[in-house]
Amino acid sequence: MTAQTKILLKNVGHADQHTLSGYESRGGYKIIRKSLQMDPLKIIEEVKASQLRGRGGAGFPTGMKWGFVPRDTGKPVYLINNADESEPGTFKDRVLLELDPHLVIEGMLCSAWALQSNWSCIYVRGEYAFPYIRIQNAIDEAYARGYLGKNIFGSGFDHDMVVHRGAGAYICGEETALLESLEGKKGQPRLKPPFPAVAGLYGCPTVINNVETLANVPWIIENGGEAFASIGVKNSTGTKLVSASGHLKKPGVYEVDMGYSLLDFIEEICGGVPDGRKLLGVIPGGSSVNVLTADECKGVNLDYDSLKEAGSSLGCAGFMVMDDSTDVVEAILNLSNFYAHESCGQCTPCREGAHWIQKIFHRIARGEGQPGDLELIDNLCDQIGGHTICAFGDTMVLPYKSFIKKFRSQFKERILNSIKGVKQERGSFNFESSGHV
């Protein structure tokens, strides 16, 4: 295992890192002081040079996104930090919010200066109570010290920052649904165009970035875009926080250079699959990507291009590992319960389709599958994907389609058993009793 660069998790081991004094004792709030001396456009140039890509899942180049913001429209520019981390299998942002909240604030301040934005908001998912307390305390501290508010660091630049707690909707992580929610409306994605960079919050130019993305900005300003771009591989620069969960000896959040070998990550960093069992498959990017079987994982690296080539996606690196003890039918039922519960209900294919597929998976799981069910699910996935307002429908169908394609024998066996009348034994992980169905 080669030494991994630490950009984001450099200081999280220190018990007082979440306090202002702890953060400053380790060089905090120096880079914002430097930034405020810089030309805002120069910062955007550096971020472009760094080739930093959005860490929320879509991987859109951050510098380019910032470049879309029209200047001198006479309207305020808003910066939103998307901390609605709701993708199943993802829990990296909470580490930053809980353990290094001032890094997040500093990253936002640097970005706000680059965008000439005087108001920013951290949209924290409703269930994140502790991260909310930590980031709110950090903001309070920063205000008390004069690091937020009027004339910060004596630069003449004003900046206000607020925290907004979501009410518990996955869809509010979609940037336009987040804006609707912030405006006090029901969290449902908007039609695009217009894109938020042009008409976002209250119709004003708005930049929405993930927590991890913004937390990278101070390092880029300190060391330069080139230095950041030299870490990782082509098209995937810098480091990535990976939320590793599932059948691993050492699950957790790890920071690795982009392009790190997937199997090495499992074996060397996460300690491998426990109890001598064998790897069955990995969902590498958070639940809304294609699953990779153990065979497909060979030679794949944790970066955008390599995973795309392997037929999946890096997403936000919600890395979920399944060993051969996994009941894939129950696993996909679990996911379909989630998507059915979280579909916002705005557009027809996703609203109706998510539930329909959930009901079919549930039927298969409880031993009432019918011949043709798998083909039906596959067909329904095609009817949903590409026909919805937002990406929810497009990505929801990815795990469904890949599961029934790659683990087809398990599904078929379950359906065959139900036709034969073999009673289905179900594990302790039973959703019928969980009230989801």
């Binding site: 039609l191 209900g345 705005q346 557009c347 027809t348 294919p349 539930h355 009817q383």
Partner: protein, 543 residues
């Protein structure tokens, strides 16, 4: 406008191989409509915001990575669009959308009021028409939920197009409705502490493309295919809302607004909708009567010619047809030149929500009275009426003729001094349809007329738009339209004005007579959803 500027404002695109040129900024649905191609939709409405949620209007746009929605995608120069007519991908997407919409739908068409004019039914037959693959249990939702005094909801039939919600948010700005819950548990509901009670509330039923919202007044009344539907104009005020009236057994069983972007968009007020038949007479006059006793028509006209003796006042209702005002004007000009002419026109005050649609009067055709030359529009109509009321009270008139049931406004009917003064006039005549009305008791001689709903003809709305109001209710034998009574009176006095035998012939006659409307026909007026008279250039009638 220069050629360059011309190029900028229009865009030429191809839809299903058909070239069409439309203004820049037009959405594909509207462009297709112009090309004569129907793209199906549920949630889209030209006068509401665009949510793009039903996914029924998906089309293929060359170069786009996936299907686009026709309601939101704006046209671009050289764009090539394929609809369900030419693209299997679109065809499949629409069939799939319909399949999805119907999985949780109760399919209770047999007891649904919307059956027969339901877009779910229509589109299913047109774009899907295959049996469902859904084997699971349907979602259960609220049934027969009362939303307010006028509207009732069946939650299971709702397809979440949010037209009703958007109407209350964007048009009336009363915001009573909301879409609650996520996913397929969604349900339309009234916001806490509110009820759906605004002056335009019934419009949400028209906007509902399915049977989720229905009128409490007309629920479970009749199947739509047993009704006779007429496209007509609401006579309630001078806005001239375009309406479609369904009648069964002489009873109005449903009133829907018709889309007319220049007049009422697709809205209608509750007063006009639920009270559409409020002007129908309760007790009919079916023959001329004098002091309650039947009289021969000739004898009656002979009596009426007493209008020539002494000072006479002609008081006309504001909901007469334009042709009738025109005849009344000719009659007065030729045979009663000394008679004073008045129009029952009074303004009323409106709340802001009412003012969105309703005009501040009860006078459907006061513009017609002015246009025909019957009265002078120079002075305020209310002041003119006030002057005549004063003159009546000062006993300046010997004779009075009421033309139409509403020739005395409600306010004047409450004026006892006025009524007493009228009662003291030596000769009082009425051309009325209701023999129980206060006007009938004021009149010594009554001619049996018809209500506005029982005749066809032209109306001019407040904005000066000429519209055709079609007869929506059958008239009883014995009654005569006001115009024919006036024409027969003219015959009795000398010679008749028109040879017209029925309403249509009269309208055709009028359109030839008046040089300002030359070149118009009933069909042209109907097809163009009315004619803006200020813009209209009269043409020589085509032989």
């Amino acid at each position: 406008m220069s050629e360059v500027a011309q190029e900028q404002v229009t865009v030429t695109l191809t839809i299903d191989g058909k070239e069409v040129t439309v203004p820049k900024g037009t959405v594909i649905i509207e462009a297709a409509k112009q090309a004569g191609i129907e793209i199906p939709f549920y949630c889209y409405h030209p006068h509401l915001s665009i949510p793009g949620n039903c996914r029924m209007c998906q089309v293929e746009v060359e170069g786009a990575p996936k299907l686009m929605i026709g309601c939101h995608t704006q046209v671009a120069e050289g764009m090539i669009v394929k609809t369900h007519n030419t693209s299997t991908q679109v065809e499949n997407a629409q069939a799939s959308t319909l399949e999805m919409l119907l999985i949780n739908h109760p399919l209770d068409c047999t007891v649904c009021d919307q059956a027969g004019h339901c877009k779910l039914q229509d589109y299913h037959y047109e774009y899907n028409a295959r049996s469902s693959r859904f084997l699971e249990k349907k979602e259960k939702k609220v049934k027969a939920e009362v939303l307010g005094p006028t509207v009732i909801l069946d939650g299971e039939r709702c397809i979440a197009c949010t037209r009703c919600v958007r109407f209350c948010d964007e048009i009336t700005e009363t915001g009573e409705l909301g879409l609650l819950n996520r996913g397929d548990r969604y349900v339309i509901a009234v916001n806490e502490g509110h009820e759906l009670n605004n002056p335009l509330s019934g419009t949400v039923v028209d906007l509902c493309p399915v049977g989720a919202l229905t009128h409490r007044k007309w629920r479970f009344n009749t199947r739509m295919w047993y009704t006779q539907a007429t496209e007509t104009i609401c006579p309630g005020c001078s806005t001239g809302c375009n309406a479609k009236v369904h009648v069964r057994d002489d009873q109005v069983v449903q009133v829907k607004a018709r889309l007319n972007s220049e007049v009422n968009k697709e809205w209608m007020c509750d007063e006009g909708r639920y009270g559409f038949d409020r002007f129908l007479p309760k007790e009919r006059c079916l023959y001329p009567t004098k002091a309650g006793l039947e009289l021969e028509w000739d004898a009656a006209f002979k009596e009426l010619s007493n209008l020539k003796n002494g000072k006479s006042l002609i008081l006309a209702a504001p909901d007469l047809l334009l042709e009738e005002f025109y005849l009344l004007k000719l009659l007065c000009d030729r045979y009663l030149p000394d008679a004073s002419r008045a129009l029952a026109y009074r303004e009323r005050s409106l709340t802001p929500v009412e003012a969105i649609l309703i005009s501040p009067d009860y006078a459907a055709n006061f513009q017609g009275a002015i246009f025909s030359g019957y009265i002078d529009g120079g002075e305020s109509l209310e002041q003119q009426l006030e002057g005549h009321v004063k003159a009546i009270k000062q006993k300046k008139f010997d004779n009075i003729l009421f033309v139409g049931d509403r020739s005395l406004t409600d306010k004047d009917q409450a004026d006892t001094a006025l009524l007493a003064a009228i009662n003291e006039m030596p000769r009082r005549f009425g051309i009325l349809s209701d023999r129980e009305s206060p006007l009938a008791s004021l009149s010594q001689l009554v001619f049996p007329a018809r209500s506005i709903l029982e005749k066809s003809g032209l109306l001019i709305n407040r904005a000066g738009r000429l519209q055709f109001s079609a007869q929506s209710i059958d008239f009883p034998i014995g009654s005569e339209p006001e115009w024919r009574i006036l024409n027969r009176f003219a015959t009795a006095l000398g010679s008749k004005f028109t040879e017209a035998e029925n309403d249509r012939e009269l309208t055709r006659w009028y359109l030839k007579q008046d040089p300002r409307v030359q070149g118009l026909s009933i069909a042209a007026i109907k097809n163009q959803l009315g004619i803006d008279l200020e813009q209209y250039q009269p043409q020589e009638a085509v032989a």
